[in-house]
Symmetry: C2
Subunit: 336 residues, 2 copies
């Protein structure tokens, strides 16, 4: 068997590779009964006395490395900080392992480091240790940045993907598809007369506001595979279904237009600054208001609710119903 | 400026890149007053109530990926576990971010995962979360594995590179150059009739035994740049010198022979299962005995002592003295 592109695309084929080769061959996959590798959550946890250490890791290989709204540095910090955040933990620190291609521009490298710094300042996290390697130019294209985030949450307050309960409301913190569609538009050189930009941003501000209200049951940041993947993962891990009101899903007009031209489904492409979360029904309105007051949350919506169905069902704009499936693999070349 | 191979080679040129571009452009570099990025230690720490969380990260790009004595999987776990260990922290968990080249053999991938599992079992650590990406075959050669290790140490008991005190004895836990020289021999296809293998192994057993005695002041695992780099880093960060007795440095006959044929200095090439440590003089013998009783420590030696000199001075086999300099860059193509 040869590893193919779809094995890394965040869909069902990738899940197969992970289960059959990785999970199957490892014995030690959790520590002290915390969230571990088998849980395939956004990260993992190490329970200590009064709290849990939460960690998450990601290798960033975005193409192009500079794009409207950010660059690989922005995404390396935001992406990892976000994975820690959606476990309910306050992100504190980042480790940063970079592999750079021989001949890479020192000026571009400096720009990337400055982007990382900007997100760190905004999110209140520190890059506390790192590693820098250089690979021959014929062995690596440009740069790969692997970041690991470390956060802290009080014991018992960690949010797992499996936490949804029937009757919960589903909140989406803003418009979907901005990252994936803007990158694809930019990459294909389509001259859309648009200001469409990646939504890459740290989500901790929105998460913290929502957690303070006290009704959040589960969260996920919809990156690879888009909200189609994130909603299905939350539902299947929680053993529930969802009924989503399509009318409520925030979508920018430019994203709709570009999606049609590119033949892409905005529900299946990556976002880099959004959260979907389950919230106890009686706290949903208050949580929505709290999120809307934050920097990136003003377009947040309650988009549906958790049901005892086994599928994520969308009530379409025309009033019909269809099942929203998790993508088998990325519908587009990798953009995150 | 273009990034060159020497920028990632673990020597002085790399220190320059790190200082001028990375450290210079980042504001947040530590958390709660712990060991941070500016310390350029083996890892970093996040002080909590009664203990510190210790983290270390590394991108592994070894060539060849399978070599006598191990593979990139072995080294990914051992290397990261060792960096946590030499900070005095018990390693608990690993995060594992892999980027695989499209077309990479599934069988080789499985072998690598099995090697990771074996080291995890031996070291008592768990791979608790991960990330898997696939890159186009013309953009990445083979595989890169970025691991981050998380460990715990009681507050105040962390071992920093700067901890050496004048009069301390220097212990080296075994023979040097095995990893670098065996890989270079293998890679060059030299038909040495030898069993020379990489020394890749987790060092926590040796470190734990030494820590129990109570006199360890500083530790480092001599990887890139070899013991020449590790001893100089310890000395310069502690503001001291060393006098090393060359006769006491354990060197395998095959390493000496192969080094001469390859024109390499075994003090400057990587090790993957050794520790150099400073120990209070009155506890040095007891510490040495404790290390010698462990699986990988039977050849440990007291190789010298900490002086008020500013250099690492070697008393050579012929009775002369020379300064052991830190290498400017790797003397060999990257082997770790």
């Amino acid at each position: 068997m040869k590893i193919g592109m779809s094995h890394g695309a965040g869909g069902g084929i990738m899940q197969g590779l992970i289960s059959e080769i990785i999970l199957e061959n490892l014995k030690n996959k959790s520590v002290n009964g915390g969230v571990g590798l088998d849980d395939l959550d956004d990260g993992a946890s190490i329970p200590m006395d009064d709290y849990e250490i939460v960690v998450s890791t990601d290798s960033h290989t975005v193409d192009p490395i500079f794009f409207p709204g950010g660059d690989i540095g922005t995404i390396s910090i935001a992406g990892t900080v976000n994975d820690v955040s959606v476990m309910g933990a306050k992100p504190l620190a980042i480790t940063n392992a970079m592999v750079i291609s021989e001949g890479f521009s020192g000026e571009d490298f400096e720009k990337i480091i400055k982007s990382m710094d900007a997100v760190c300042r905004e999110a209140g996290v520190s890059i506390i240790t790192g590693d820098t390697k250089v690979m021959e130019h014929d062995k690596l294209d440009k740069i790969i940045i692997a970041t690991t985030g470390i956060g802290i949450v009080k014991k018992g307050e960690i949010k797992r993907d499996s936490g949804l309960e029937i009757g919960n409301k589903i909140i989406l913190t803003g418009s979907v598809g901005d990252h994936g569609i803007s990158l694809m538009s930019y990459r294909e050189g389509f001259g859309f007369e648009t200001d469409l930009q990646s939504d890459v941003a740290p989500v901790w501000g929105m998460v913290e506001a929502a957690l303070k209200v006290g009704g959040v049951t589960a969260m996920k940041d919809p990156t690879r595979g888009g909200i189609a993947n994130a909603l299905n993962e939350l539902a299947s891990k929680s053993g529930v279904g969802m009924l989503i009101d399509e009318e409520k899903i925030p979508l920018k007009a430019e994203v709709v237009a570009a999606s049609e031209m590119l033949g892409l489904d905005p529900y299946e492409v990556a976002n880099e600054g959004k959260v979907v979360m389950g919230v106890e029904a009686d706290k949903a309105d208050e949580t929505l208001e709290a999120i809307r007051k934050t920097k990136y949350g003003k377009d947040a919506q309650i988009i549906g609710e958790v049901t005892d169905n086994v599928h994520v069902v969308i009530e379409t704009l025309l009033g019909g119903k269809r099942i929203l499936e998790a993508p088998i693999a990325d519908p587009v070349p990798r953009v995150c």
